[in-house]
């Protein structure tokens, strides 16, 4: 199945006591697309990522990845099936070098003849892809913020995911870094990855995403192309309040 949805969320809910962090959410992430999930702070976006990656169990509903239900599986099993993720608050291994952060995540490749590249070569490739080759022997704490985010992406790519979840990749970035991020995201799609990102930086989302879903108070209030979303009164209301939506 090369077309259709790589990830299907069906009637997914995650409650914390009386708080409905995610409630009755359904949508499909098309294979090969760049899909964005937006919504105000506290609308349940990161909770949704945590449920998809198995860090949290769903209260109800299912997550189907590559045609198989994955809800309830342990995280490491979900990762092996092909989902990678970066974190909103960067979670690198700070006591390891840049190289080792990627190397430890490197998925074992099936044995393949003479042309097979060594694991180290593939680490170097990922470091080159993310512009970190010159920093390979540094401790993580010596990297600047943008480099740390790129290293997280490189580490996630080392698990060879077909679906990459990026949790606010543009947070705290300046204009130069943002431009690079847009290039990187498009590049990853060209490499065959499906990108599913949470983001607050609207012009980035509108620029890069093929399709957008909007969460508010744990429920999906809209879904569509960037154009459709920009024109949707429910979205404008969620972000700016009712009077703007009616204006």
């Amino acid at each position: 199945m090369t077309d259709g949805a790589i990830l299907s969320i069906r009637k997914l809910a995650r409650h914390f006591g009386g708080l409905r962090a995610v409630n009755d959410v359904s949508f499909d992430v098309p294979r090969g697309s760049i899909f964005a999930l937006i919504g105000p702070n506290g609308s349940g976006k990161t909770t949704l990522f945590n449920v998809i990656t198995g860090a949290l169990a769903p209260t109800a509903g299912t997550v189907v990845f590559d045609g198989a239900p994955i809800s309830g599986m342990p995280t490491h099993e979900i990762v092996r099936r092909g989902i990678g993720r970066t974190f909103q608050n960067i979670r690198l291994f700070t006591r390891m070098s840049v190289f080792h952060n990627v190397w430890v995540a490197m998925r074992r490749q099936p044995r393949s003849g003479n042309g097979a590249r060594s694991e180290r070569e593939r680490v170097e490739e990922l470091l080159a892809l993310t512009g970190l080759s010159a920093r390979r022997d540094e401790l993580v704490e010596n990297l600047n913020f943008g480099e740390q985010r790129r290293l997280e992406t490189a580490r996630a790519l080392a698990t060879d995911p077909s679906l990459l979840l990026l949790d606010e990749p543009a947070a705290g970035m300046g204009a130069v870094e943002l431009a690079r991020l847009v290039r990187d995201i498009r590049r990853l799609r060209e490499l065959g990855k499906t990108i599913f990102l949470i983001e607050h930086t609207m012009h980035l989302v509108m620029d890069v995403a093929d399709r957008i879903a909007v969460l508010n108070f744990g429920e999906k209030i809209a879904e569509g192309t960037p154009k459709e979303i920009q024109a949707d009164p429910r979205v404008i209301e969620a972000y700016l309040g009712r009077e703007h939506a009616n204006a």
Binding site: T53, G54, A55, P74, T75, H76, V79, R80, G84, R85, F87, R91, L92, F93, T94, R95, M96, S97, H100, W103, V104, A105, M106, R107, G131, S133, A134, R135, R136, D137, L139, G146, R155, A156, A158, T159, V176, E177, R180
Partner: protein, 305 residues
């Protein structure tokens, strides 16, 4: 001469105990119970040679394997808790083992001697080594050979991806799971391997001293075994070896300190936690040494974004 042989033997044995704590520590756990596995290894290896007629090598292997299996069994429930709770749970395990050996009687009369675990009397007359004409110096060589084998295994571990995975789990279990690591399995396997190393140290110890009793595997041994890696450093196993050499050398060498050992060790742990939380040989030092040793990569200028 005998005196220095004795100190070197104790350093070798305690280094194994320290390495056992080190393995647990670099997978993000802290154990105050490795002396329990040390005791299991000691009693089992002792019974093997003194009562069951096994040779030294099978006895040491059996002691290590049974301690490792116990580590596996204890590891599953114990590793559900973390930090202080795990420290207390593991110490509780150590005390259970100690009190078990305080009460177990399983003796035989061999040549007019009562041999075997004998409750509060301890386990005496494990004379396999000395009965075969070994001197203290010979046996020190045995200890060092075992230590070298273990050190080689640690050297390989530190270079392997398994070692890196342990450290990933130590630093951030969520991030570790998110790169495909089975966190529970890594922790339990590390704990079992650590228990086997402690058991090996116990087996070496009882054949060195010819006897062991419950009092020798109590809280002071737990504190000592934790102090070696914490003082020596968690960046490399070399730190633990260094810690054992310095601390055992210090307390055995300076007789005046004998009675104050726990005081000195406890104080050192607190000082290290404040001033150098990863110990003397920490990760930054390891990285610096590695870059000195490999002149291959000259520092390139920082690449423009």
């Amino acid at each position: 001469m005998d005196y220095y042989v004795a100190i070197a033997s104790i350093i070798g044995i305690h280094a194994l105990l320290g390495l056992s704590v080190y393995v647990v520590a670099i997978s993000g756990q802290m154990s105050f119970g490795q002396q329990g596995f040390f005791a299991i290894g000691a009693y089992l290896a002792g019974m093997s040679t003194a009562m069951w007629g096994l040779g030294l090598v099978p006895a040491l292997v059996l002691g290590a394997l049974v301690a490792g299996a116990m580590g596996f069994v204890v590891g599953f429930p114990a590793l559900r808790v973390r930090g202080l709770y795990l420290a207390i749970a593991t110490f509780g395990f150590g005390e259970i083992v100690r009190l078990a050996f305080l009460n177990v009687r399983y003796t035989e009369n061999i040549g007019g001697r009562v041999v075997g675990p004998n409750g509060a009397e301890g386990f005496r007359h494990v004379r396999y080594v000395y009965d075969r004409g070994f001197t203290g110096l010979h046996y020190l060589a045995v200890i060092l050979v075992v230590l070298v084998v273990v050190v080689i295994l640690f050297f390989l571990l530190e270079r392997s991806k398994v070692g890196a995975k342990l450290r990933a789990v130590e630093e951030d279990e969520t991030a570790a799971a998110m790169i495909g690591i089975n966190v529970t399995r890594v922790k339990v396997v590390a704990f079992a391997a650590a228990a086997a190393v402690a058991g090996l140290g116990g087996g070496l110890f009882i054949h060195y001293s010819t006897y062991i009793d419950h009092d020798m595997v109590a809280l002071p041994l737990a504190i000592a075994s934790v102090t070696y890696p914490l003082l020596g450093g968690l960046g490399s196993f070399v730190g633990t070896l260094l810690g054992a050499i310095v601390l055992v050398g210090l307390t055995e060498g300076l007789r005046g300190l004998q009675g104050m050992r726990e005081f000195v060790y406890g104080g050192l742990i607190i000082l290290m936690m404040i001033f150098r939380p990863r110990g003397i040989v920490d990760e930054a030092l390891v990285l610096r040494v590695k870059s000195w040793l490999s002149p291959r990569a000259p520092r390139e200028p920082v690449q423009a974004p």
